[in-house]
């Protein structure tokens, strides 16, 4: 999307009127374009003033306690972003390793050794301090995208996704999701790019530690994916997120 196309949409973006796909495309552009980002920030500031100017409603006094408890609970149970950031780094590093060994690495992954792959991922978590270097080496010849997967209304949980896209190698996607125990699968992943919707043909796999993961080579160009959605067996949205270029 060019600056002209983005600026054409910035007003509606600030007012929350774009579709998710269009909004994600605009946000992807804003990640790297300082000029459009400045314009967007000004429009969003104007939009926020409309909300701030509303005559105030009074929530129940107990709402503050509920907000505090919920954030503190989340902060205590999962250090903010850390677990999924580690997972993302692990995935990218593993991707670098797989790409380095070429077809053999992919063949291992494709012969159904998903479990072994995940064990490798878990083991690599302990080596997180060394992962930055591998990540940087990978970034030199490919693109990495990530997404935070946020829960749909009424759903608890969260997750993250990593997409790698590099020349001459099939793109792949890694997703790691944490959901409450009463959320039962199967869960299907739907990824949407800026041209068409496509449903990834694999479901998330439950891990011994309770989270759900998917690691898949799609054979398609994933560099233009804008949203990732996890659906339950009734095709209801469980988690969804916007894809951004990876930023440490």
């Amino acid at each position: 999307m060019t600056c002209l196309e983005v600026r054409e949409r910035l007003t509606e973006h600030a007012l929350g009127l774009l579709t998710k796909v269009d909004a994600a495309e605009v946000e992807r552009h804003l990640e790297w374009c300082a000029g459009c980002r400045k314009e967007s920030a000004e429009l969003e500031e104007g939009a926020a003033r409309m909300a701030l100017a509303l005559p105030m409603e009074s929530p129940a006094p107990s709402l503050e306690t509920r907000v505090v408890d919920r954030v503190r609970s989340a902060a205590g149970r999962i250090p903010p972003g850390a677990r999924h950031r580690v997972r993302a780094l692990v995935a990218v590093t593993l991707a670098a390793a797989l790409l380095a060994v070429g077809a053999m690495g992919w063949a291992i992954a494709e012969r159904g050794h998903v479990q072994k792959l995940n064990q490798t991922l878990s083991a690599k978590e302990a080596q997180v301090s060394n992962l930055g270097k591998a990540l940087e080496s990978f970034k030199g010849w490919g693109k990495t995208f990530t997404a935070d997967l946020d829960p749909a209304p009424g759903v608890r949980g969260g997750g993250s996704a990593v997409i790698s896209s590099a020349p001459n190698v099939d793109d792949f996607i890694f997703i790691d999701v944490v959901l409450p125990g009463n959320q039962r699968g199967p869960f299907v992943v739907q990824i949407v790019d800026n041209r068409s919707a496509m449903r990834v043909g694999r479901t998330l796999v439950r891990q011994p530690e309770g989270d759900w993961v998917m690691f898949d080579r799609t054979g398609r160009d994933l560099s233009r994916v804008v949203t990732i959605t996890v659906l339950d067996s009734a095709s209801r949205t469980v988690l969804t997120g916007t894809v951004h270029p990876y930023a440490d």
Partner: protein, 200 residues
């Protein structure tokens, strides 16, 4: 660092507040709620139409602020802008989800009311500035923005309803947003000068 629950925060203070929020600091959560909790809740009531949904939205917004807090960059915009954008987007997402529509059909907001010059509940300077900024818009501009922001009408729908060209609607929406932003920025500068000069 401690934070005044009502006075203006510098960009550095906003960044520090978010750093502490991400760390799960209770004082930071309470400070953020004291500053923006009612605004988020109010937007929830206006868009979702009932107290229960607004309370749920408020909890989700602050949880999202914690989860995404490390992305907040005070050099790119104000904390209030960032938080209210999260709240508006989450409310719109909820409407889309609940109604199964590709685009929200927002209800409940009769018409954005004439901004009151002041009321005894006024607590936040920023809210006061926002109201005065709204007062600087013409009734037609307020109506236009209200249809878009609170009803979820697209520029195309407004153009069809009002019988004016799409490009004109987009231009007017943009102009109105920029006027709001500029009026608020001028208010903020005036407030800063008053503080620096010791004015009451």
């Amino acid at each position: 660092m401690t934070f005044d629950p009502e006075g203006p925060l510098s960009r550095e203070s906003e960044q520090e507040l978010m750093r502490q929020l991400v760390a799960g600091d209770e004082d930071a959560i309470r400070t953020l709620y004291a500053r923006f909790g009612r605004s988020v809740y109010t937007l929830g009531v206006r868009l979702l139409g009932n107290n229960e949904s607004a309370e749920e939205l408020t909890q989700d917004v602050f949880l999202t602020a914690w989860r995404k807090g490390s992305r907040f960059d005070a050099t790119r915009g104000r904390l209030s802008t960032w938080l209210m954008a999260i709240a508006h987007n989450m409310a719109v997402d909820r409407l889309r989800h609940d109604r199964g529509a590709a685009r929200p059909s927002l209800v409940f907001m009769e018409e954005l009311p004439e901004p009151a010059p002041h009321d005894e509940e006024e607590g936040l300077i920023e809210r006061d500035q926002a109201r005065r900024a709204m007062a600087g818009l013409s009734p037609a501009e307020r109506r236009l923005l209200s249809h878009a922001y609170f009803y979820g009408w697209t520029a195309r729908e407004i153009a069809q309803a009002d019988g004016i060209p799409l490009g004109t609607v987009k231009t007017r929406l943009r102009t109105a947003l920029i006027k709001l932003r500029r009026a608020g920025a001028e208010e903020a500068r005036a407030a800063a000068r008053a503080v620096e000069g010791g004015a009451p």
